[in-house]
C-alpha cells in the first residue's frame, strides 16, 4: 500500500520559531527554492511518521493575511489554493496577544489549524502562566506547548498533526462576533456570495469579511468573475 501523504504548512509571525520547528521536523531532508515569480525563499521538507509521508512547507513569516505585502500574499495563496491538510500556526507564547491575531485570521479562513505555543520557557521566565486547556476550548483548535530550541514538544505536535489529518481531532474553529451593525452587513453579503462560484473555494463569511475590509486581492477576484 502506498504511503498516505499529509501536506503541512507552517505559518506564524516573524521570529516565532517557524524555521526551528521546521528543522526539528524535517532534519536535513529539506529543499530550498523560491516561490514562483518572486525572490522569497520557499522551504520544503519531508518526513515519515506513523505510516504517513508528511510534506512540510515553511511559509514566510507574516503578521496577518491581508494582501499588504508579497510575503502575506504568498502565505495566503498557499493556504487558499493548495489546501494543506493541516496548518500549524507557530505562536510566540511570550507574545500571545499579537500572535493570536494571525491565528484568528487563519481560523476565519476555516483551515484545519493547530496552534503550537512555542517559547514556553521564555513565557514562563517572564512570569506568564498559560492555561493550554482553556485556550483550546476558547478557540476550538488543538494547542501544543513547545520549546522548539530544545526540541521539546515535537513528538506531541506530530501526533496532533496526524490526528487532525485523520479527522480524529475535530477543529471546530471560531466564529468571532463583530457586533450587530457589522453582522447585518456580513449576513447580506454572505447571502449574495453563497450563490457565487468563489464560495466553492473560500468560506462565504471569510469572503464577506474581506470585502468589508476592502481587501484588494479578493475585490479583484470578484471583479474577474
Amino acid at each position: 500500500m502506498a504511503k498516505k501523504v499529509i501536506t503541512l504548512a507552517l505559518a506564524g509571525n516573524p521570529n516565532s520559531g517557524k524555521t526551528t520547528v521546521f528543522n526539528n521536523l524535517t532534519g536535513a531532508r529539506q529543499h530550498v527554492g523560491n516561490w514562483p515569480g518572486v525572490t522569497v525563499e520557499k522551504k520544503e521538507g519531508h518526513l515519515s511518521y506513523a505510516g504517513y509521508e508528511i510534506k512540510v512547507v515553511d511559509l514566510p513569516g507574516v503578521y496577518s493575511l491581508t494582501a499588504y505585502s508579497q510575503d502575506e500574499v504568498i502565505a495566503r495563496d498557499f493556504i487558499v489554493d493548495e489546501n494543506p491538510d493541516v496548518v500549524v500556526d507557530i505562536v510566540d507564547a511570550s507574545n500571545l496577544e499579537r500572535n493570536l491575531y494571525l491565528a484568528v485570521q487563519l481560523l476565519e479562513m476555516g483551515v484545519p489549524l493547530i496552534i503550537a505555543l512555542n517559547m514556553m520557557d521564555v513565557a514562563e521566565s517572564r512570569g506568564y502562566r498559560i492555561d493550554v486547556n482553556a485556550l483550546t476550548e476558547e478557540i476550538g483548535v488543538p494547542v501544543v506547548s513547545m520549546v522548539a530550541t530544545r526540541n521539546k514538544g515535537t513528538q506531541e505536535l506530530l501526533q496532533t498533526i496526524v490526528e487532525v489529518a485523520k479527522g480524529n481531532i475535530k477543529v471546530t474553529g471560531l466564529r468571532l462576533q463583530y457586533g450587530r451593525e457589522v453582522e447585518e452587513e456580513l449576513t447580506k453579503l454572505e447571502n449574495v456570495i453563497s450563490t457565487n462560484s468563489l464560495s466553492q473555494r473560500y468560506p462565504p463569511r471569510w469572503l464577506a469579511v474581506k470585502l468589508l475590509e476592502e481587501d484588494e486581492e479578493i475585490m479583484k477576484r470578484f471583479r474577474e468573475l
Binding site: N15, S64, T66, Y68, N95, E97, R98, Y101, E213
Partner: protein
Amino acid sequence: MMPLSMVTQGEVVQVVAVRAGWGLQRRLAEMGLNPGVKVRVMNSQRPGPVVIDVRGSRLALGQGVAHKIMVTQA
C-alpha cells in the same frame, strides 16, 4: 501628548492614538502597535527611521508614520 517622531531616544512612552487612515491603523495594530501599548524609542536620529521596541520586537517606522502616532509619557 505628542507625536512619536518627537520622542527622545531611550524614552518609554504609551501610544494614545494613531491619527491615520484605517489601512495604516490596521497595519500597525497587526504588528502589535495599538493604542495603550508601551513602546521604547531605540533610535530617533534624523534623517532615518524611528526604531522602537514594541512587545519585544523592533519596528522601524518612517518619520511620516511616526508623526501620526500620538503618545504620552508612560
